[in-house]
């Protein structure tokens, strides 16, 4: 299973046939393992790693630190459940450290993200404060080097 996940993390579009070759299994074996992992939500989904800085118009991504007051009986879940319903939100992480949640948000421009923070996020009940950091450049995302990956080896032997 580890080998399969490692391969899918590198390339989720790898064909069942190729996955079978690389893991020394049958195509059917690989297919049923993937199905099992999907059912268990170990594989929660498949996505595309985009270098959004190369898109026109260029969308904006922000990393927002959120401090909050946990609600009695619900802890942070109450706020998190609300956050998950916002389509602007790409990722939500519970953090250890200076703030409680890291929320990754994307929008078409700076204004859209700012409006989301000031109107939707900061106004939520349990939110104490937010600090918004805008992403200027992505160098690596989901394990992918977004700069040109060069083979530096020159000796052919």
């Amino acid at each position: 299973m580890e080998q399969l996940l490692s391969l899918l993390k590198m390339n989720a579009r790898m064909s069942l046939e190729d996955l079978a070759l690389a893991t020394n299994q049958s195509v059917e074996g690989v297919a049923s393992q993937i199905e099992h992992l999907e059912k268990k939500q170990v594989i929660a989904g498949y996505t595309t790693v985009l270098d959004t800085t190369k898109l026109e118009p260029r969308p904006v991504t922000a990393w927002i630190e959120v401090k909050m007051n946990p609600k009695k009986d619900f802890g942070f879940d109450y706020l998190v459940d609300t956050l998950l319903t916002f389509e602007e939100v790409e990722s939500v992480y519970l953090m250890a450290g200076d703030y409680d949640l890291a929320v990754v948000v994307s929008g078409t421009d700076l204004m859209e993200v700012s409006m989301f923070v000031s109107r939707k996020l900061a106004t939520l009940d349990s939110v104490v404060s937010t600090a918004t950091h805008f992403v200027l450049q992505k160098y690596k995302d989901s394990g992918f080097n977004l700069k040109k990956d060069q083979d530096l080896r020159e000796n052919m032997i």
């Binding site: 080998q3 490692s6 391969l7 390339n11 070759l21 083979d151 080896r153 000796n155 032997i157």
Partner: protein, 388 residues
Amino acid sequence: MMNDYLKQVDSVGIRKFFKMASEYDDVLSLTIGEPDFQTPFHIREAAIQALQQGKTFYAPIEGFLTLREAISRYLLRKFSLSYCPKNEMFVTVGASEAIDLAFRAFINAGDEVIVFQPSFVSYQPLAQLMGARLVIVDTCVEDEFKVTYDLLKSHLTAKTKIIILSYPNNPTGAIMTYQDYKVLVPLLETFDGLIISDEIYAELSYGPSPHASLAHFPSIKEKVLYVSGFSKAFSMTGWRLGYVCGDSRWIEPMITIHQYSLMCSPTISQFAAIEACDHGDDGIIKMKEQYQLRRQYLVNRLIQLGLKPFAPKGAFYVFCDIRSTGLSSETFCRNLLDEMHVAVIPGNAFGLSGEGFIRISYSYSLAHIKSACDKIEIFLKNRTSRIE
């Protein structure tokens, strides 16, 4: 002007093929014999620190004692091999220097040297340069490219001065297990010479059994010169650092040559190597996981294509039988290069017994290997349809 022995050495060798490949600028190469992984960051950092601290002077002739102690700890921890850092080892400029020094220190013109092939391209020419009488012994795919009892017995004579072997093997990916070596030991006990065991790929062994070495056998250990280095295990090819371990009667004469020819191995590399020995295990595990996936993919894919790869148990090469195509190794490689711009190495570059095979390196990303395999598939299909 030229040294008479040098005249016998094949000056072109494997370079002929690389020159051909370099004529195309869109070649998909599967030729390279070095890891595609960068040297782990903590190892590079140790070198940077040494630089910043101004540790840029010559190192001791034998290498820093701290490094030799680290190598000694590493060999004991990883391979249960015990060598005294003070008088049973020294640090060389790559494992290649160690092999060169051993030949220079112990071969007199006319001495018999047994070289098992297919093997690394340097052994034969370096021994020839010393005027050795070469005894080329061909291992074969039927024996999984191992050195067998019969093979050794039929070539070992009273005149044999040196035996050189290397497992895990480049180019075949073959390994020798403890049991494989054990049957050779009685023969080697009677042998009164030097056994050079090049174990540069020791860390890259994929079988269930741990890496085995002739140096594991107490009755012959003092005849074994254990050669290894940092290039393959820690992705440190450009750092040019190796080491050689053995009885001081072998080590001392080699140090004499090393001291007059190179004086010492690169200082900065040695500081990096200390870090590699003591804290490099995790990096090796990660690297091996990737090699494992690529190895499985490549072997299975080649079988699918109707070829007969020898299933490698070590290193990062697949030695693939292409005799079913009716082509010689060189013609196969040349046609594949010309028609599909894919470069692999003809098996006979590693000795005549490699004829009928090609060496494919899987020291590349899986995507790269897949693209090359797709082209090999088209190449084979085109060939079949032409014949039909």
